[in-house]
């Protein structure tokens, strides 16, 4: 089973939930953590894995043979990402803008564009005290997160309960990370900002046809509108984590919640059971 942990709004506690879930489950399950927040992976701060394997990730970017180029401008016109400009007798390629779709080389009438691999990041694998650990790291200055995320996802394996930490927002990296999950946990905070971005995240997850449930972190601040929204939309509210100085203090020192406050372990084990029930019920009623 693959459980993605997303949020919409940043800083709501995805990493807290993902790492607590992984550490609570590891005694009864084979657990793998996939940190797909490749622009700023941080599960490693809490889990402290030993990294044993590093694999570079490449994006295919165009190289134009200007000896043979007629400067017809087709490549610049067909590029949906404005990664190529043809000016006078110059072809300018902006590799950071390139999504690696290959349209330029496919449609070049002179066939003078080849796609060359450009390293954009790395996937690191290792182990953290019995948890199999995979994280993607996008090179600073690079903009294309999805190829790195896809490479992390290649290590998915049915033998494991996979906890996949997702970046904030609802853009391409989030969609790529959530795609293929059995369930998406959405971590939010009970504030207007939390709710606004939660609604966007719920719409995204629904579009992908993936069941979701809500975790409210820092419960006690703000108002009750997130809870009201869950009731109205029929989305299960699975866990409340209160605003607590003790939790914040542990977290700020990189100490896992379920180690510093082991009483939380049962809450996360229960959380996984609830998720499993929702997923299996849904699988037996696929029309829903």
């Amino acid at each position: 089973m693959i459980i993605s942990v997303a949020s919409g709004k940043g800083g709501t506690g995805k990493t807290l939930v993902a790492t607590s879930l992984a550490l609570s489950l590891k005694d009864g399950h084979k657990v793998m953590v996939q940190d797909c927040d490749v622009e700023e992976p941080n599960d490693h701060i809490i889990l402290k894995p030993v990294i044993t394997d590093r694999e570079p990730v490449f994006n295919l970017v165009p190289r134009v043979d200007e000896e043979k180029c007629t400067y017809c401008g087709t490549c610049a016109r067909v590029c949906a990402f404005n990664a190529i400009a043809v000016i006078n007798e110059h072809v300018l390629v902006f590799p950071q803008m390139c999504h690696g779709c290959g349209a330029c080389s496919y449609l070049c009438p002179e066939k003078v564009i080849t796609e060359i691999p450009k390293e954009i990041g790395v996937v690191e694998r290792g182990e953290a005290d019995g948890i199999s650990f995979v994280q993607g790291v996008l090179t600073i200055g690079e903009a294309m997160a999805p190829p790195v995320i896809r490479k992390v996802k290649e290590y998915s394996n049915n033998d494991y309960t996979i906890i996949r930490d997702v970046s904030p927002g609802t853009s391409c990296p989030v969609v790529e990370s959530i795609k293929g999950s059995d369930f998406c946990l959405l971590v939010t905070e009970p504030t207007p900002f939390g709710l606004n971005d939660l609604i966007l995240a719920v719409e995204t997850v629904k579009e992908l046809g993936i069941p979701c449930g809500i975790v409210i972190n820092r419960a006690g601040v703000g108002d009750s509108k997130v809870a009201d929204y869950c009731v109205k939309e029929g989305i299960p509210l699975l866990l409340n984590i209160p605003l607590s100085t003790d939790i914040a203090s542990l977290y700020s020192r990189g100490i896992p919640l379920v180690e510093g406050m082991p009483q939380w372990r049962d809450s996360f084990i229960k959380l996984e059971k609830q998720i499993k029930e929702i997923v299996s019920e849904r699988n037996s009623n696929p029309q829903r």
Binding site: A76, F81, N82, A83, A85, V86, I87, N88, H90, L92, F94, M97, A143
Partner: protein, 123 residues
Amino acid sequence: MKIAISSAGKTLDAQVDPRFGRCAYFIVVDTETMQFEAVDNANAAAGGGAGIATAQMIAGKGVEAVLSGNCGPNAYEVLSKADIKVISGVSGVIKDVVENYRNGKYEASNKPNVAGHFGQGLK
């Protein structure tokens, strides 16, 4: 000689748009005759690469200089390959800017004056 000025409106009385790649319009004006054309900037809401696409569009207008509030690195690179002078830090009313240009009050920039994505945060 024609120049292009990023503009918030379609007339010579409009204000300069501080953004290059994501400006609303360009006023392309002949500095001798003051005849001008307002060009819609179709790249104002581009997902990415607005500066690159806008620079390429302006290069097709046969101007000798582009005047704007700001110009980022990618747009600058395209404009300089097109041998178009870039004058950044420009503000005020379009017709005053043209007058200042005619009187040689501006100096061309030899580098971009803002980092990439600068214009995304401006409205």
